[in-house]
Amino acid sequence: MLNPLRSEGEMFRLLLYVIVVFAVIIAVILIARAVL
């Protein structure tokens, strides 16, 4: 299980997850604004 507080490597993996999730959120927002 991912524990970002245990090591730098796991915190880096959490950062990668956050980048992916927020990239999707930003893309959805920009597409929604363009369409609506």
Binding site: P4, L5, R6, S7, E8, G9, M11, F12, L14, L15, V18, I19, F22, I25, I26, I29, L30
Partner: protein, 208 residues
């Protein structure tokens, strides 16, 4: 404080050498002290940022004020470049960490120095943005919370840079080994946390 460890289980066996009784003073028997310290620190940081995000969402949602304030514009794309600079600094930080684990001192020094320089660049561009953005913190509530949120994050970057400067100097002096590199690991965790918070701040303040 090892007096409690003399209690042996009846019959001896493999458990004979296990530690029994209360843990040493000021320690928990369940959570590793370093993990607990980092956990409490990160929780307190999340609460600080949470307080500022509460003020931000109060202005935008509860009060329903226009964002950004009428007549102002946020530099979305220049800040996106700055965001990429900060995120890339996490990759160089990770490079430094993996390098010292493998005993690669050049990788450690190059990675840490690059991380530090990328962080300085981010902070410099942030200050430059403040100087040219065209509004001041006291102009309106939106401006106040904009400077507060980004400034709070900037303060964290500054602290991270101080830590990175110390790690850089110690790297050049050869203080870290593949076996003992906690001095790189803990600032690395902090630096990634600062990056994660910036992604949240940037998305919330500049994009949404």
């Amino acid at each position: 404080m090892e007096a409690a460890s003399i209690a042996h289980p009846p019959g001896g066996g493999p458990a004979e050498h296990e530690h029994h009784g209360p843990p040493p003073a000021h320690s928990s028997s369940r959570v590793d002290p370093q993990l607990l310290g980092m956990l409490l620190f990160i929780i307190s940081e999340i609460m600080i940022f949470g307080a500022f995000f509460t003020a931000y969402f109060f202005i935008r949602v509860a009060q329903g004020d226009q964002w950004p304030a009428p007549g102002t514009q946020l530099p979305v794309y220049p800040t996106l470049v700055n965001t990429c600079i900060l995120i890339s600094s996490s990759f160089t930080m990770h490079w430094a960490q993996t390098s010292i684990k493998k005993g690669n001192r050049f990788g450690l020094k190059a990675g840490i120095l690059t991380t530090f320089l990328l962080g300085v660049t981010f902070l410099f561009l942030q200050v430059n943005e403040y100087a040219n953005i065209g509004f001041a913190p006291q102009d309106a509530a939106q401006q106040t919370i904009f400077y507060s949120l980004t400034g709070l994050h900037g303060a964290h970057v500054t602290i991270g840079l101080i830590l990175l400067a110390i790690v850089t100097i110690r790297s050049w002096r050869g203080h870290y080994t593949p076996e003992e590199h906690r001095g790189v690991e803990v600032p690395g965790i902090y630096w990634h946390f600062v990056d994660i918070m910036w992604i949240v701040v940037y998305t919330t303040v500049y994009i949404i």
